[in-house]
Amino acid sequence: MPNKFYVLVSLFIAMLHLVGCATQSPDRVTLLPQPDGTPSAIAVTSKTGDVAVIDRPYQVALVSDKKIVLEQSDEAAVGQRYKELMKALPARPKSYQLYFENSGTQLTSASEKLLQVVQNTLKDYPAPEIIIIGHTDTVGADALNDKLSLQRAIYIEKILKTKGIDTSRISTVGRGSRDLLVPTGKGVSEEKNRRVEIRLK
């Protein structure tokens, strides 16, 4: 009799254990490489306060309530397991610099061509967020440069509008000569500073 009871209890405990295991498939945290190859890391903390750091690309932390187990995966396996995630990641933001001839809104011919590239790239950005920031060099009064930088930004916005691009999430700013790409003193004509920065998101 006590023997039978003992068997039943053990069976019951074994069953509980099985159920427990089934519901406790561990979470998987996978570190991906940085696009520019710089090192990176993440620290994973379990409920019970265990901490593990993963710092190699495609290293995986398997985290359950009781423990953290580390394993090494690779690009192919991660790409296969998470193919939908790879496809659905939105395009990374991109910036372009367009340069202007002296003191006006005339683009240099190289930048005219680049603007065409920007337009083509926009198809990779559904519901595009476009930030246009105008700049000037240090020739002329600050107030005039503020005005000119904004005119440049608005000029680019107008061109994009005429090309049928969705400009509902566009913003234009003039920064005058505050953010020089090439640092210069006052009154210096510098093509690299006469520019509009376009950021696509």
């Binding site: 089934a22 519901t23 406790q24 498939s25 561990p26 979470d27 998987r28 945290v29 996978t30 570190l31 991906l32 490489p33 940085q34 696009p35 710089t38 990176s40 890391a41 993440i42 620290a43 994973v44 903390t45 379990s46 409920k47 932390a61 985290v63 359950s64 309530d65 991660v78 998470y82 939908e84 995630l85 790879m86 496809k87 659905a88 990641l89 939105p90 395009a91 990374r92 933001p93 950005y125 559904p126 519901a127 967020e129 930030i131 009064a141 600050d142 107030a143 503020d146 005005k147 904004l150 509902s168 999430r169 566009i170 913003s171 234009t172 700013v173 003039g174 920064r175 005058g176 998101k201």
Partner: protein
């Protein structure tokens, strides 16, 4: 007189710049749905609706991919997210100041898989970015990673 005038003009232009900068993004908008495949749903308060490209994502939203499909989201600080099949995430906290680039973000992965490319909030202050699941908290050091929470069965 002249100096006062030009100062006023600069002030005006700066204000206009800041306003137009903030222009399209309403205060409650944390991000934008950039792509959907299959059935993607947003639960906001007591309402829920099918997500489509261009829809804003807000703090407290629960975003789910029902069945086979996926979704891509871009947040204001340039954090990028993709959500896999049979997955649910919640944007618990999201605050971002585009002028100072300071902010706070906390995201939960309830089930399924989510890929993170952390953005400017994390670059300024990695501690300000939190990703959690039922059983784990993830602290970042400027990174890209995937979190998968298997279905409990």
């Amino acid at each position: 007189m002249n100096i006062i005038n030009s100062n006023k003009i600069i002030f005006f232009i700066s204000c206009a710049a800041i306003l137009s900068f903030a222009g399209y993004a309403s205060a409650s908008e944390s991000g934008i749905i950039k792509n959907t495949y299959g059935h993607v749903m947003i639960e906001r308060g007591s309402s829920n609706f099918d997500a489509k490209v261009g829809d804003p994502v807000q703090e407290k939203d629960r975003i789910s991919v029902i069945g086979y499909g996926s979704a891509g989201i871009s947040m204001k600080d340039e954090t990028l997210l993709s959500i896999g099949p049979n997955s649910s995430i919640v944007i618990n906290t999201y605050a971002y100041n585009s002028v100072t680039r300071e902010g706070q973000s906390a995201t939960s992965v309830l089930k399924g898989s989510c890929r993170f490319v952390t953005g400017l909030i994390g670059r300024i202050n990695p501690k300000a970015v939190k990703v959690t699941t039922q059983s784990t908290t993830i602290g970042i050091r400027g990174t890209e990673f995937i979190v998968e929470v298997p279905d409990a069965e």
